[in-house]
């Protein structure tokens, strides 16, 4: 019986990923991150300029996440029901991972901003490692195999780019653009499947 309870809980957690919006928003956020890296690679600038650009991108990414959550509330609720995942402060492990990841990303940004282009030949591998960690954790939390594939993809591509002499901003740009395209494709496929499988409910009340 306890296994049935665990399976029910797992299904509820996986449900958050059934409509493909997580992947779509993830793809957009990664694309924004890629644009940031491209701009940084193209325009030589000061640390403050890089920092303000990074903060702007961070805010845009959060806005995209907010919009996607609104879309989800409006599209999944009338079709198959709506759930809100546990908030970060309710899940201590997730909160710690988010803080560690944010600090690692900020550290990487500062390092790249300070030492610039040729100084870091392993930036692609590092960025690939961070992305692999995120997708790996997502796979571990949800039990969805596609996140483990994404994790392996990021890790391998990061290493290949670094070993191929593209460990700088351009390499990181290629890595994030490629990952965003793969994640976006996953999102489109999942979304199409979800919309085909589910029917929109009419104007009837949800109880009585």
């Amino acid at each position: 019986m306890d296994k049935n309870i665990q399976a029910t809980q797992k299904r509820a957690v996986q449900y958050w990923f059934t409509d493909g919006l997580v992947e779509l928003s993830g793809g957009v956020i990664l694309l924004i991150l890629a644009i940031y890296f491209v701009i940084t690679a193209l325009i030589p600038e000061t640390t403050w300029g890089t920092l303000s650009l990074f903060v702007t991108m961070f805010l845009i990414a959060y806005a995209v996440r907010w919009v996607m959550q609104r879309i989800r509330a409006r599209t999944t609720f009338p079709r198959t029901g709506y759930i809100a995942p546990k908030r970060s402060w309710e899940n201590r492990r997730l909160l710690i991972i988010c803080i560690v990841f944010s600090l690692a990303l900020l550290g990487l940004m500062f390092y790249l901003a300070l030492y610039h282009h040729g100084a870091v030949e392993w930036a692609s591998a590092l960025c690939g490692g961070i992305l692999a960690l995120i997708f790996g954790m997502a796979g571990f939390e949800t039990g969805l195999v596609r996140f483990f594939y994404l994790s392996a993809f990021c890790l391998l591509l990061g290493l290949v780019l670094s070993l191929g002499g593209l460990g700088n901003f351009w390499g990181v740009s290629i890595l994030t653009i490629s990952t965003s395209l793969v994640v976006f494709s996953y999102g489109i496929i999942t979304r199409k499947y979800y919309l085909r499988q589910s029917q929109k409910r009419g104007g009837m009340p949800d109880e009585q």
């Binding site: 306890d2 029910t8 809980q9 797992k10 509330a73 609720f77 198959t80 029901g81 759930i83 109880e207």
Partner: protein
């Protein structure tokens, strides 16, 4: 035979409000998420709307869940979330069940 000589823990001590398949499913779902709406719980439990409403009312009356009724556009939205008391009671129920079944 006295209860003291029972070789394993008794199931009669479990929370009977939770020890009902539909209600344990509802609490299992709500313990894994922040909140879930009526439609999701309806699909997950395979109950009728009336039955689900009754089970939710019982859990709400016991203080195990919180029900919030609102609207999303023109459609009514009933959001259910587990309370700290409900969370504690459900964990306790699972512990008792594991003990009874011989697990940890």
């Amino acid at each position: 035979m006295s209860s003291e000589s029972a070789p394993f823990p008794s199931l009669t001590e479990v929370d009977r409000l939770i020890h009902e398949p539909s209600r344990s499913v509802i609490l299992a779902v709500l313990s894994a998420v922040h909140s879930a709406d009526f439609l999701y719980l309806l699909r997950e439990t395979s109950l009728t709307k009336g039955n689900l409403t009754v089970h939710l009312s019982k859990l709400e009356a016991a203080g195990y869940i919180k029900i919030e009724k609102t609207y999303r556009g023109k459609l009514p939205l009933t959001l259910c979330s587990i309370t700290p008391e409900g969370s504690k009671a459900f964990e306790n129920y699972r512990r008792q069940l594991r003990t009874f079944l011989g697990g940890k």
